[in-house]
């Protein structure tokens, strides 16, 4: 594989994978609000 193509591919993969892991990690680190089933709603 050409070096320029490999660098471009790895940059693209790092960007999307990095964004995914960072956002999920940050989301999971904030405590989730406890939700009670709303009155009258179908669970």
């Amino acid at each position: 594989m050409k070096t320029t193509a490999l660098i471009f591919m790895l940059s693209a993969w790092t960007f999307v994978l990095g964004l995914t892991f960072w956002s999920f990690k940050k989301l999971m680190s904030t405590p989730e609000e406890e939700k009670l089933p709303p009155p009258g709603s179908i669970p």
């Binding site: 999307v16 995914t20 709303p38």
Partner: protein, 529 residues
Amino acid sequence: MTEATQSRAQWGSRIGLILAMAGNAVGLGNFLRFPRQAVDNGGGTFMIPYFIALLIVGIPLMWIEWGVGRYGGQHGQGSCPGMFNALWKHPVSKYLGVLGLFMPFVVLVYYCYMESETLAWTLFSALGSMRGLDQEGMRQFLASYQDLGNSTVHATWVPFVFYFGTLAVNFWVVSKGLSGGIEKLAKIGMPILFIFAAILVVRVLTLPGTEVAGAAGCAAGTLCKPSDGLNFMYTPDWGALASPKVWLAATGQIFFTLSVGMGSLQAYASYLTKKDDIVLSGIATAATNETAEVVLGGSLAIPAVVTFFGVSGAVAIAKGGSFDLGFIAMPLVFNGLPGGAIVTALAGIMWFGLLFFAGITSSVSMITPCKAFLEENFGWSTKKTLGILFGVAAALGLFHVLYNARGYLGEWDYWAGTFGLVILALVETVIFVWIFGPDNAWRELHEGASMRIPAFFKPIITYVTPLFLIIMMIWWTKVEAIPTLRMVGVPEENKPVVIASRLVMVGVLIVQIVLVRMAWARKARKGAA
């Protein structure tokens, strides 16, 4: 929190919400449309505007749709007519919102047809029905399914069974509720999709080189390897970046892949509360979708097809359309895998199975806006609402099964699934950012957020995103919409079918406009009583 919100359903968990939203976004387009668009627009050349469009159109629209949806939900509105009316108290706003009912319902009807094909091909792969077929045989196998007048391979009833079965499964999932149906499907379907895709990526990228006859365009001449496909995908031709076609194709792909401009993201977001973080959730949804598309979708069809057909062969196949790539070329690749019938069957089951899960996690979201609209505005029960919607969808879908090969589906896909998305996205951006106000929109997005959106996104959302949408709409009108409307290139014998398909779409739109009018008249009567 308003009374309306208290009586609405809620997502069961944050991870379930993100998976459902990502499931909505990750669809057939990630694995079929993306590689086709990339190949058709120069591979690496396409990827640069693709990432720029993600940042200045995709992610901002994702935030806008989550914002519009949650704001509407806070006012007891789970569909665009009510959401737009909550943001803009003008009589016309609710009619503009009809687009958010029209698009998802129309797309649902034909999307389920494509989804049913992925289900059928999963079964055909398991049964070994395509084993030993050459390219012409594979083409006949597909044509016989899609063209009932030419059913030499499949029995005529087969496409009907798969279509109505797929549609029924979709409605059954939605009938189980938000957390018991949609969320549960996402929690099961998304991991399966990612596992199947990851296994196939490893298999494709470790394929040995293949000797391809003719001008293959690979690094070693006619000996083609998966790395030649990746080279093609990630080697930009800087000169070609000056072509507006490449930029518009890349922006268009961002649209389809994130499912923005459809009305379904807003419907899902309407079940959020003020405490939910839509900034981070929007990024997580977009990023998960991009992982599925760039890392997995980009490493499957193109490297596989390039290995067996060469770069020039892959370009020729992609020009035939996404179905040629996914339903003709990929089964041929699986037939050529070392390991015999079992490996071929397993690869086919995983490929079409992942397409099915990608499809169903998207199509269930398309039922939600119309369901919410009818339940909230007419007081119908879920059973009655879904029963009526299923009946209408099945009746309309019948024409797709009968006339797909004569351009019926293509017409719906263009007007609702392509052109319509840009119109709805532009309308909602103008209403949310310009009419509701940039400061109000910015404040709404940050309610409950654990992080702030970088400040440079404010002028992007306010000016750049709408400008991009306007340019796209003008360009598409000139280059595609007018020729499509004039039926340029449509065979004479198919023109009556195309016209009929348009009339049916117009009929659906008129019925929805009338329903919105009736809903507001009902509200006015209730208010006066």
